[in-house]
Amino acid sequence: MGPYDYGISAGSSSSSSSSCAGGKPTELDGLLAGAGYKVRSSDLHQVAQRLEKLETFMVNAPTEISQLASEAVHYNPSDLASWVDSMLSEINQPFPVSSSDLSDFSDFHYMDDLVTPPLQHEVLTDAWADQSAQQQQPQPPLQQQQLTVVAAIEEDSGIKLVHLLLTCAESIQRGDLALAGTLLEKMRALLSRVNTGCGIGKVAGYFIDALSRRLFSPQAVCAGSVLENEILYHHFYEACPYLKFAHFTANQAILEAFDGHDCVHVVDFNLMHGLQWPALIQALALRPGGPPLLRLTGIGPPSPDGRDSLREIGLKLAELARSVNVRFAFRGVAASRLDDVKPWMLQVGPREAVAINSIMQLHKLLGPDPNRGSPIDSVLGWVRSLNPKIITVVEQEANHNQPEFLDRFTEALYYYSTMFDSLESCTLQPEKAVAEMYIQREICNVVSCEGSARVERHEPLAKWRARLGGAGFRPLHLGSNAFKQASMLLTLFSAEGYCVEENQGCLTLGWHSRPLIAASAWQAVPLPDTNSLPTINDCVL
């Protein structure tokens, strides 16, 4: 590297680096990339010109500034050129079209104006949490992706435990199972001297269990019954904000996508208790111009005991919809695997605007299946064929599907340590305890299962972008309005330490500085012979 290339690739995983002098015109400016901005070298002059124009506007029309700030929705700030352009076009159209917000939080649309003497902590949040966190017990602070720093009293045992865990995982990878077994014994002994109630002790215990399982009883199934899973899921939903964030962000995007459509159809890849949908139904009820006809197709595993639990949920949602005067129809599709679903089962009408909603389901399709070709490809294929208006995707922001076991294990150790640390701030019981079991199941699956049994194959946003892009989808950017509402939701419902971040059009929720869950939205790239999308018109019921 020449002197002017120093530090181009410094730590930023999302930038594509190129030398700033003499690089190809289609390449990005490497130095701006290091600062988080993607600008093609060939576009620099144009971007500069437009920035100048914007600056001139701002100087000459200062009232425009407050409008840009409070009303305009900003998208994907990394794409500097389009950000500047969007603001220039906002200035040229003095009356921006604002999309409806979720009714539950419509108050917050105005909070900016009502509030804030500078010390209003409740409303303004800092990405890394400016305010005090109330912690009752001395707790080891946990960090992402690395050895944990533990409280002074436990220091040696905690760090030793982590070393042993990693060494054990490494010996398993090498095939030295005898050594792995010995290490497990050592770890259990050490565990008895460490506080297993919180921090490293708690999470290490789960990892030790998972390693034991891998060594001694790999055939043992990690998953519980359908009913058990639903209970765990529900408690995880209550105890921490990850699922609420997922639902909230997806709903916001779906609401915006459905704007102007009279017949809409949501396909939920994993209905569970339908927790996501009351808010959307209510928001649709309140949208200007009246609600559309809403169809919801909920996919879920078949109920073992003959109950039609999908239908039961559907009935409850129908009742809610009726109470707010939203025409509503529900269909349940029972399938144990997403790739068992055939598009005809969803009965998508020709004039409907379709939203596909996948909350932590796509990664389950990444496993190998000798009989079925690639499950993820087949599902993405039929999704695309439905030509949905929007696909909302939420996934764990982790690299738990790497080919090498040690890499997966290490990543999982740090990821779940961080997640457990965030859970410490929850005071609700039994929600917290049961939520821990939910997480523990995931850990178990990542660490002790292999092949088709290992379904928790989380991949990070960067990989999903590539995968979805390659499957014919393009991103729909989540904007500053969604970001703001998600941030506000957090301050209301969660402890300090959670933070929302914007990542090239996607939003992530994390604990302290580690993103743990990522929400994104997509649309099918139009095929050449695609018909025009449905707009306001009659629907066939």
């Binding site: 988080g36 600056e55 949490a129 990693l166």
Partner: protein, 346 residues
Amino acid sequence: MAGGNEITVNEAKMVVPLNTWILISNFKVAYNLLRRPDGTFNRHLAEFLDRKVTANTTPVDGVFSFDVIVDRATSLLSRIYRPAPADEAQTQAGVMELERPLSTEVVPVIIFFHGGSFAHSSANSAIYDTLCRRLVGICNAVVVSVNYRRSPENRYPCAYEDGWAALKWVNSRPWLQSGKESKVHIYLAGDSSGGNIAHHVALKAGESGIQVMGNILLNPMFGGQERTESEKRLDGKYFVTIQDRDWYWRAFLPAGADRDHPACNPFGPNGKSLKGVEFPKSLVVVAGLDLVQDWQLAYVEGLKKAGQDVNLIYLEQATIGFYLLPNNNHFYTVMEEIKRFVNSNC
């Protein structure tokens, strides 16, 4: 300044490389959106627009990083940057040992306070993550970047308190000690508001008996009630206006205080002399096109008058933010000086 704006925009473009101009203008435009006339700050939009990067224990260009909680009570985080070990065998089970003790050779530990006029940016902002990584490589130092609380939500003295907490934390880490005397060789550094914080934390350190080996102030943020010649001459010409400087001081200083508050104007009418006071040697970098340079130069004078060791680097043609991208001579000049500063042990 509306009339002169066209000219000033072109002037600024003539003294910085194009990508630098774009970067800093982008900040200028974005920051205009965030400051409200009533003194409040659009924090949500600020966090949305700020480009952040995660820490990375995998070395990139010989540097790895990880985050620590310095003070749970205030959720004070810091990002630690360390040189990757040259020897692969030193990593246990393929995993970086984050708190491996430093060597018996002296390794400077630079506590870095990012800029942003007390209101903007974070330790995990991309521009500062990049800068800290460069500092590690250039100085062969450990860098601790402090994510101090920002105004207007947290006014004076929160940022100073966080800086002080970080200093105490760094000073008490056995794994940051180096050299024959096994002590932490601490330097305080910062740009813009970070430089201001470094000064005040150094003062506190001196009062409390913690040794700081040196202060590095890059375009430090100081001010005062008076309108100096440089402020009037350069107002609005190189990305910065008097009006925005005033806004940030109003947002940081206690309600009702004016810019002669000692936090803003340490050697002003309400300041005090540092004569005979325990204070580290200082390296102060002033950009010739920075409108607050008269205050920065007054700061240097104040240190000199008090008999303190201060080295001024005045870069005539430099603007604010020149150190953010390594595409100009000022960058290399200053990095060399910083390297020399932290590697000459007194």
